[in-house]
Symmetry: C2
Subunit: 259 residues, 2 copies
C-alpha cells in the first residue's frame, strides 16, 4: 500500500495511491481512517513530504563497502561503528519529491547526494525486542541526505553540512509492503547511474537500531529513521537532477540549483 | 507577558498568566489570538512544555568560565568554540515543569543537570541581521539539559547521553519581556545553591547565533534554541529535586527518579 501526503485547494491531507490516482482519507493513517470515494489525480495536487516527523533520526556510517572504499579513497583507515548509535537531522531541511535542492552561495563544490532507505514508525514504541520491532513500522520511503563535505569535515556539528534548507529531500510516498532482502538502491545523476547497492546490506540492521534506540527513547508514529548510504557519493552541481530509486518503493527525484 | 501551555479537560491550549491565574486563548500565540474572559487556576490544569518545537536547537559550550573550570578539573586544556555552530536535541526527551527526570537503569552516577536559557522563536526567519534579530524572538523559557557524562564521552553521538526520555525538562512558561543583561541563573539541588552565573555572559550571544543559523536555515515560530550552561555541573541522583531559576522568568523544578 502506498501512502502520500499532499496539498489540494490549500488543505493538507494524507492519501492512498491506487492505479496512479490519489484517494484522500478522513482520519489519521497511523490510527483510524476512512478512504474517500472520489480520487484526485497527481496533476491536481501538490505532493508534500510523506510524513512530518516529531523527531528526525539518522544513522551514520552503516555499510561496510562504504567504509572500505572511503578508506581506499582517503588513505585513512575507516572503521565501522562499534554500536547502533543514532544521530539527528533537522525538520527545516526536509523537501518533497520534485522540489529543488538549493546549494548555498558559499558552499564548496563538494556537495554530494546520499541515497538512503527511510523507516517510518507507525506506533508508539519503547523497549522493543526482535519479535515486535517490525509491527511498529508503518512503512518505508526514500531520503537524499545531501551533504556539504567541507563543512562536514570542519564544523563542530553537522548543522549546515547536512541541515541547510532543502538538504533533506524525502519521498515520493511511503510503501507499507516491501521485501527488504531483495531491494536495490540506485542513484542516478542526469539519468546516468552513479551508484547501485543492496539496500539491506547494512552493518546494523533496522531491527538492531530500533531495539537499541527504544531502550532509552520513545519513538512516536511518524518519526523517521534514515538508514545510511553505501558506496562513495559524487558531487552534484547547478542544473543536475538527482534520482534515488529503491526497488519496491519508487523514485525520489530532485533538481539542483546553486544559489 | 507570561505564556503557558496546558491540558484542561483533555484539551491542549495556550494561555496567558496574570495574577497567578491562566487565561486560555482562542487562536495562536504566534499570530492572532483572543484572550478568553474566564481564567483557570493552576490547580485545575496540567502544565505542559510551553511550546512544542518544529526543530530543537542547542548550543554547545558557550560560557568562558565553564571552559576554564572544566580545563582545571580535567587537566585537559579546553578551548572555546571558534564559531556559533548550533547542535540539536530531540523532542522525545522534553518534559514539563514538575515532571520527573527518570535516570535509565544502566546509567552511571555521572548524570548531571545543566541550567540553560531557552530562546523561543516567534516569526519565520531567514537571513536575519543585527537590526531585526530580536523582533523574531517570541520570548524566553528555562531548560535543564540533563546529561549522562559517560555516554557523552564514549558514544559517537549524544543520542542517549542527552536525549534519553525525560532528559530535557523545559518551562515552566515563556516570558516575553526580559532584561537579558541583568538576569542571573541559579541552580539548586534539594534547595541548596550549586551554581550561579550571569545568564547573558555568553561566548557567542543570542544575536550572533541566530544570525549565523539563519544564513543557512529557516527558523519557524515555536522553534527553540537552548543557549548552553556555565560553571561545572554536579551529579544528580534518585530522590533529588533540581530547580533552575532564571531571574525575570521563573523556576523550572523537576524531581529525579532512578529507574
Amino acid at each position: 500500500m502506498k501512502w502520500c501526503r499532499f496539498k489540494y485547494q490549500n488543505e493538507i491531507n494524507h492519501g492512498i495511491i491506487e492505479n496512479n490516482m490519489i484517494f484522500p482519507i478522513s482520519g489519521n493513517p497511523f490510527s483510524k481512517y476512512k478512504k474517500k470515494e472520489k480520487p484526485l489525480t497527481f496533476e491536481e495536487i501538490e505532493l508534500l513530504i510523506p510524513v512530518y516527523p516529531k523527531t528526525f533520526y539518522a544513522v551514520g556510517v552503516n555499510y561496510m563497502n562504504h567504509v572500505k572504499k572511503m578508506s581506499e579513497l582517503t588513505g585513512r583507515v575507516g572503521t565501522p561503528p562499534p554500536a547502533p548509535d543514532v544521530g539527528y537531522r533537522a525538520n527545516n531541511a526536509l523537501i518533497a519529491h520534485n522540489k529543488s535542492i538549493i546549494i548555498p552561495e558559499d558552499a564548496t563544490e563538494k556537495v554530494q547526494y546520499e541515497g538512503e532507505l527511510v523507516v517510518v514508525i507507525g506506533k508508539k514504541a519503547k523497549n522493543l525486542n526482535k519479535e515486535n520491532v517490525f509491527e511498529h513500522i508503518f512503512g518505508y520511503t526514500i531520503g537524499n541526505d545531501v551533504s556539504e563535505r567541507t563543512w562536514q569535515a570542519n564544523d563542530r556539528t553537522l548543522w549546515r553540512a547536512k541541515n541547510s534548507d532543502t538538504f533533506k529531500p524525502m519521498g515520493p510516498w511511503i510503501e507499507t509492503n516491501v521485501d527488504l532482502e531483495n531491494m536495490i538502491t540506485t542513484i542516478r545523476v542526469n539519468n546516468e547511474i552513479k551508484d547501485q547497492f543492496k539496500t539491506n546490506d547494512m552493518i546494523f540492521g533496522i531491527s538492531e537500531y530500533i531495539i537499541n534506540i527504544t531502550k532509552y527513547i520513545t519513538l512516536y508514529p511518524g518519526d523517521i529513521i534514515w538508514m545510511g548510504t553505501d558506496e562513495v557519493p559524487s558531487n552534484i552541481k547547478n542544473g543536475d537532477v538527482v534520482d534515488i530509486e529503491i526497488s519496491g518503493i519508487g523514485i525520489l527525484s530532485n533538481p539542483v540549483i546553486k544559489q
